[in-house]
Symmetry: C2
Subunit: 373 residues, 2 copies
């Protein structure tokens, strides 16, 4: 009854925490991957107007031309990337884009290089496509890259998120240049997931395609920046030389997703023009508060962006999470993001008072474990 391939994937652990959250009364939820602020008012207005104006039929498979033009302009002005609207595909979020990309490019046995810790969808897609997973540590330097190249592995894709989910780290320019080196030496394509781009607290973010346009696929969307996680609009932008991949992804979209929601695509055009500086200030304050508190008793890579912090804990994260749930605190266990399980993801996309309560519970569990209780 069930296909062989579907046995390769299992329920997402984030979703499992999500389901637990639903069962707990009054949870202290620091597991959430979506902003606590609403969709910006102008975006909501555009969305509502689109519905009133009966923008409810199919759009072209690739997305509305007006949206793809607006995306191309955004990529040019904000990211220094020149892309034709013809080489942009709009779909129902970056997750859909990643799925279509893997379907359109990855054969069984292909090598895929990730940066550990990684967003949990990446290894799931690697496994689902019977590909081989390889990793670089997040703080990789020249030596790590040389060691990797020594192995003779030729990855088809190098997939990473910057700013990172789960660590909030933004890759340094030198690191991006090292990834370009790997790509040039092995023929790998760089797949830069920039969904957290808007949350860049040190003005540090660089789009990989601005350094290596001919070999980079840029993924982005509106879920995180504009609190549109449930609205489902994301996109991929490719250079002309990689247009075939986007075309093939669009062909598969015809027979599956069909198109991203029409009125949401219109709302997304307005989203691209919306100022997010207030939201950025708010999130930066939370990061600072959280980093200061956590620094007193644990270690973590100081996040430059996104809305996560990824501290080390004195136990396996599954044990930590179990204890946390008993105290109504929801976190995402670190073991799903990489090889080292003794970390946990805290999201600060949450109201300050909940955040502060959560950190108190977190510190208590942490201290208990450290003291062998």
């Amino acid at each position: 009854m069930i296909s062989d391939r579907i046995g390769l994937i299992d329920t997402s652990e984030i979703r499992r925490v999500f389901d637990l959250a639903a069962a707990i009364k009054n949870p202290v939820n620091l597991s959430i991957g979506q902003p606590d602020f609403p969709v910006p008012a102008a975006v909501k207005e555009a969305f509502i107007k689109a519905i009133q104006d009966d923008k409810s039929g199919y759009t072209p498979t690739a997305g509305l031309l007006s949206l793809r033009e607006a995306i191309a302009e955004k990529l040019q002005t904000r990211n220094q990337i020149q892309v034709s609207p013809d080489n942009i595909l709009v779909s129902t979020g970056v997750a859909s884009i990643l799925f279509l990309l893997f379907q359109a490019s990855v054969n069984p046995g292909d090598d895929i290089l990730l940066i550990d810790p990684y967003f949990l969808i990446y290894p799931a897609l690697v496994k689902y496509h019977s590909a081989q997973l390889h990793t670089l540590p997040e703080n990789f330097q020249q030596q790590d890259v040389e060691d990797f190249l020594q192995k003779g592995i030729k990855p088809k894709l190098i997939v990473y998120s910057t700013p990172s989910n789960p660590t909030g780290r933004i890759l340094e320019a030198d690191q991006l240049k090292l990834l370009v080196q790997i790509a040039q030496k092995t023929g790998a394509l760089l797949v830069s997931d920039e969904i957290y781009e808007a949350f860049d607290y040190e003005n540090k973010f660089i789009s990989t395609a601005s350094l290596y346009p001919e070999g980079t696929l840029t993924l982005n969307g509106f879920s995180k920046s504009h609190a549109m996680t449930g609205i489902r609009v994301g996109y991929i932008a490719a250079p002309a030389g990689l247009s075939k991949i986007v075309q093939k992804m669009a062909t598969l979209q015809q027979y599956s997703i069909v198109c991203a929601p029409h009125p949401a695509q219109i709302a997304a055009i307005t989203a691209l023009k919306t100022d997010l500086s207030n939201e950025l200030v708010l999130m930066k304050e939370r990061r600072d508060m959280l980093a200061e508190k956590l620094a007193k008793f644990t270690e973590f890579a100081r996040p430059d962006g996104a809305f996560y912090i990824f501290p080390k804990i004195p136990a396996h994260s599954s044990e930590f999470i179990e204890r946390a749930i008993k105290e109504r605190l929801l976190l995402v266990p670190g073991y799903i993001f990489g090889k080292d399980p003794n970390w946990v993801r805290i999201s600060y996309a949450q109201k300050n008072e909940i955040l502060e309560e959560g950190i108190q519970i977190f510190e208590k569990i942490f201290t208990d474990l450290q003291n062998g209780n």
Copy 2:
């Protein structure tokens, strides 16, 4: 750069006509697979209220429980199907549901039985999954089924749309019982695509699951009935014994589509309560008008439902379509729906004056071809 599997599918011909339509000034477009009336006012209001109320975050992967409960109630009261909301998965349209279903159930080499002519996504998915396509003619009777069973083929899925795209035919109770016979003898699952259910002009439609609950997967959505093609909400409902398939589809949805758009799911709850009798009367009048005109010079199976008619033409449909485009008339060529290419799909989801102009052009091309011009 491109995976082997993606080479198995090609651009949808309906989309090609769609693109042509965009290039023609003032087209007489009878190729459209979406109603010409707007989304019902109450549904639009519910959609708008959901956006105002900030229903913009992730929903559970399977869809909002309130929507799944409303779907379960609809299936019980209107279709005499008992389904638990736990065994309903909401996704971005029936096309997404079909894709997830094939991914979750079909292995390379599996046999799939379709009814010819079939909706073009079905054979594309068969090919994409390296499965074997078999067909029964649409007017199949006992003898056809016996002949099929003689071959010893054990299909994994039997997939069909009733009312049918492209013919508008609704399967007879006797025919459904024959499909149940095949399912019982071979272990096949029945996959009943009921997206055109609302357009049933003879009060003839029967949900297969009401006859064979334990072996039928029911697919439906809001695209056609409520003119919500670009809103992207569809669903699958399964009996308890087939819950594993739905669970596995949901798992894959976690790593791809994530969830159907949140405010659209809320709008869909209202859609289920919306009276569509005016729209039905309008479409029935068009069917009657079109059937009367076409009956004077060509043959077709009289449509019971949907908003298509599928007449025979005196040429290969690709030649016919080429001539039609020169006259600004857009139709969908019959060769993409089945083995016999000398048919063409006319959609009457179009304003009456355009419909009448289209039929005049159609008759002229038809007569020219018949006369060897």
